[in-house]
Amino acid sequence: MDNPIGKSVPRKEGRKKVTGQALYIDDLSFPEMLHGATVRSPRPRGRIKNINFGGNIPWDEFTVVTAKDVPGANYVALILNDQPYLAEGFVNHAEEPVLLIAHRDKYLVEEARRNIAIEIEEQPAVFTLEESLAKKEIVWGEDNVFKKFLVDKGNVDEAWATADFIVEGEYETGAQEQLYIENNGAIAVANPAEGVTVWGSMQCPYYVHKALVKLFDLPDEKIRIIQTETGGGFGGKEEYPSLIAGHAALLAWKSGKPVKIIYDRAEDMAATTKRHPSRTRHKTAVSKDGKLLAMEIDFTIDGGAYCTLSPVVLSRGTIHAAGPYFCPNVRIHSRAVATNVPPHGAFRGFGAPQSIFAQERHMDQVARVVSLTPEEFRRRNFIREGETTATSQVIHERVDMNGLLDRALQLSDYHAKRERFALANSANGNRPFRKKRGIGFATFMHGAGFTGSGEVYLQSVVSAEATIDGQVQILAASTEIGQGTNTIFSQIASEALGVDFDTIEIVQPDTGRVPNSGPTVASRTSMVVGKLVESAVTALKQTLIGAGLLADGYTASGFRAACRDYVTRFGPLKASATYQPPPNIYWDDDKYQGDAYGAYAWAVYVAEVSYDELTYEARVEDFVALQEVGRVLNPVLAAGQIEGGVAQAIGFTLFENVVWKDGRMINNQMTNYIIPTPVDIPPIRVYFEENPYAYGPGGAKGIGELPMDGAAPAILNAIENATGTSFTHVPLMPELLMERHEQERSLVQG
């Protein structure tokens, strides 16, 4: 195919998926395999007093693993290494793993688990970020704080005096469950002689590798991690798999048999990571002609019982907190705090959806105070090329937020609808309850790749190898989790080489085979790793040219012949590419200042809502998602990412409410944790613009997380437009809408 980049090339592994032939972890079975299960703490905090093995269970047939059986170090190697694989004497959250059991009979394992009683001598626990901040109980470290950041630009303190208006607001977001339709699972084979091999559903094989090296105290080459077809991740399988993989491996190590652990939905929802709940406080100084003079932002996230990735989530949330605007004075205090709930973790957006929700809701409030429309107020403050962000990063690309806003408002018929709705909302119908309508929007940006020097630190590597049959294999640790990795890499490689799409093979991510191209997170796979794919295959091509086997204007079959030739005569034909940072990226980790991201995607999302006065339900009726993304590598896949992310964000806003009791999620069933069905989703209309990013393959920027950021504030802005009421919390459930509505009605009626 000529120039596959930019075309909707069909999904590389599509055929396997639509015929049921794709193999997910639970589809695999090994001879003599045991089924494993995790026995968990029933209470949120306290000392493990007793473990009772009861019932009529043949316990001598079981493999039982506790913390004492850990060959190496009993912690999940990540950032602070504070999370044990198995609790040793003390638990810090409900569902915390205490012991592991395995048996050949899958049904008996569940029965056995039910008959193990863990007795906890309870200690006072902390369940919300407010309680944690209040420090009435210290449950982690010296002060419950995992991490803090301070961003300080200009001089915020002096700016208050110059303000015509000062506007304050407080905004909150709740936990959200990733709810990949395939639950977490792993199969391990492990013994001291050969080492450890784990197959599993995961996003980051090398994270699991790093963790198991420490757990077993084995050298790198004795741990092998293989990603199986993965049924969704969204961040929920970024760091969590290290835990389940280690558990399966510990059981395999002790029993001498392969062990499979598959969570059922109730366990996965209750025990694994969720999006960090957040609280953001804004204080904004603005001039009477609507110019932002100062922003003081206080951002707190609830990290749960152990540190895991909270510092990085906090980082991204902090950096995105001030939005796509220019403001000369910005101060952001942020912190991640500990509570006694299962640790929160990565979920698409990774802190940004939380802080952007607050920012974009707040902007509508500030607009009202200065008597400007939400649109006009933003126009007066959008950042432009040459201006600096909150971290004092100079924007070096052509940014046209005004143009994007124009187009998004036109595509959504915003002005006409706003007028029409205002009239219709005040008219009386012949039924006692009206359906009111509203329309609102959010403007935002999302940085792609790891923050600051993160990508340099990762030192990602991709290899390409040509086979004797003239196929080109791409070896990378980047995983296909539905987002299109396999297809995008194949497009990039086939374009760079001038060969057919089918010539490219993506090798299954297996740490025994592929180099570490970094984790499949942070909207980096196409932009950062895709670029390495391009470089690696280009190096392969150069080798062939250098060997005199390939000349200008070669054909696809000529290329294959050259590979055959080379391999026959000289042996393996392999090339690698290692990450090189773009020039002029400077980041100061201490001051939290400088070039936070190499590239930003820019977006405007518009939500049209209806509000039913009878049931107090808000519903999204139409959604426009417009974004500038550098280059659209595959239109169908790209639109699919946006549509899927918007749907998850609609869930985040109006449907997905985690119900907590004593630090445990009690609505841990799909019946009671509600995501949108096909009849709940509005038309999601996706549009792209392209301002090529020089360092992305074909000019592409990352887009995986972007669609998670804009829906929540756009929807609540629309609800405010429809009802006149400002809400500051998501998820926004009908029960809360009812309470406010009835409260306001009784005030009006006196």
């Binding site: 049904y107 569940e110 012949n430 039924r431 009878l614 107090y616 009690i666 609505n667 009671n672 009835e742």
Partner: protein, 287 residues
């Protein structure tokens, strides 16, 4: 999946007579198992305490919908899909069809049965409010004979019903008296499909010269059983459907229902929405 499968029995007698004999010989030991859409959910959650089930899915005697001049009679194994596709039900009992269409997705509707729904006795079930408003009757059969009971009053408390351990619910009968009536059914759930209801309202009424005539109202998810709101009906009967009537009917409804806070919603929300649904229902009677 939390159940210890080997500990469950599911026996499949070939005839209705054999099923009834089993229920008679070992009363309380065996419970009937129909489409499984409720029982299997409990099983998988590790909460299906009863162990011995008698399969009735294969009994042709319990299927089919019969129509005569006075009644429509549905076999207990009538599925939600069967309900939605029957022409007489669509015309004369639209609330039952609407309820069936809002129970789970199509895969659940193909297996869930009316009989199963009734004896599962969830106060949040979708069809019972419609059945109550349509004055349904249920037939209970045992080796000792058969009897018809009004569905109103069948449920006596949370998961308590007027059915003996040796009895099987075999048919449901609806009187064909809905011509010219206004039917109003609204299920308010957690989302638009596949949702457990927070409030479920079924109302059917006729008007005589601008006044409310015969009226029947049933509300689900606001009490331990689905409630046939007889006092509220009385507050509406013979009244003009105006604001004053709505106010007085709402005050009565407040006393007839007792919603609670639970994992899905709050007592306040359920109460307020139920009152709103009543007002909206009465408004439809104005025209």
């Amino acid at each position: 999946m939390r159940a210890y499968i080997p500990s469950y029995q599911l026996t499949t007698p070939t005839s209705l007579a054999d099923v009834l004999s089993l229920l008679a010989n070992e009363p309380g030991i065996w419970k009937p198992f129909a489409g499984g859409t409720d029982l299997m959910v409990l099983l998988e959650a590790g909460r299906l305490d009863h162990r011995n089930y008698v399969n009735i899915w294969q009994l042709a005697e319990l299927r089919g919908i019969e129509v005569n001049n006075d009644h429509v009679t549905l076999g207990a194994l009538t599925t939600y899909t069967d309900v939605q596709t029957h022409p007489v039900l669509r015309t004369e009992f639209p609330m039952l069809c609407q309820a069936a269409g809002e129970t789970g997705g199509l895969a659940v509707q193909n297996r869930g049965t009316l009989g199963g729904n009734i004896v599962n006795a969830s106060p949040a079930a979708d069809s019972p409010p419609a059945l109550l408003a349509y004055d349904a009757e249920v037939e209970l059969v045992s080796t000792q004979g058969s009897r018809w009971l009004p569905y109103q009053g069948f449920h006596t408390g949370y998961k308590q019903m007027l059915i003996r351990p040796d009895e099987l619910l075999t048919r449901i009968r609806l009187p064909r008296n809905t011509t010219g009536a206004t039917h109003y059914y609204r299920k308010v759930g957690t989302r638009k499909a596949q949702a457990i209801s927070k409030v479920c309202f079924a109302g059917v009424a006729r008007t005589n010269s601008g006044h409310v005539g015969d009226v029947r109202i049933a509300v689900g998810s606001v009490a331990p059983i689905v409630v046939r709101c007889v006092q509220t009906e009385n507050a509406l009967k013979d009244q003009s459907p105006d604001a004053a009537t709505v106010k007085s009917a709402q005050a009565t409804l407040r006393r007839e229902i007792s919603p609670i806070d639970d994992i899905r919603s709050t007592a306040n929300y359920r109460l307020q929405v139920a009152l709103n649904l009543l007002a909206d229902f009465v408004a439809t009677l104005k025209s």
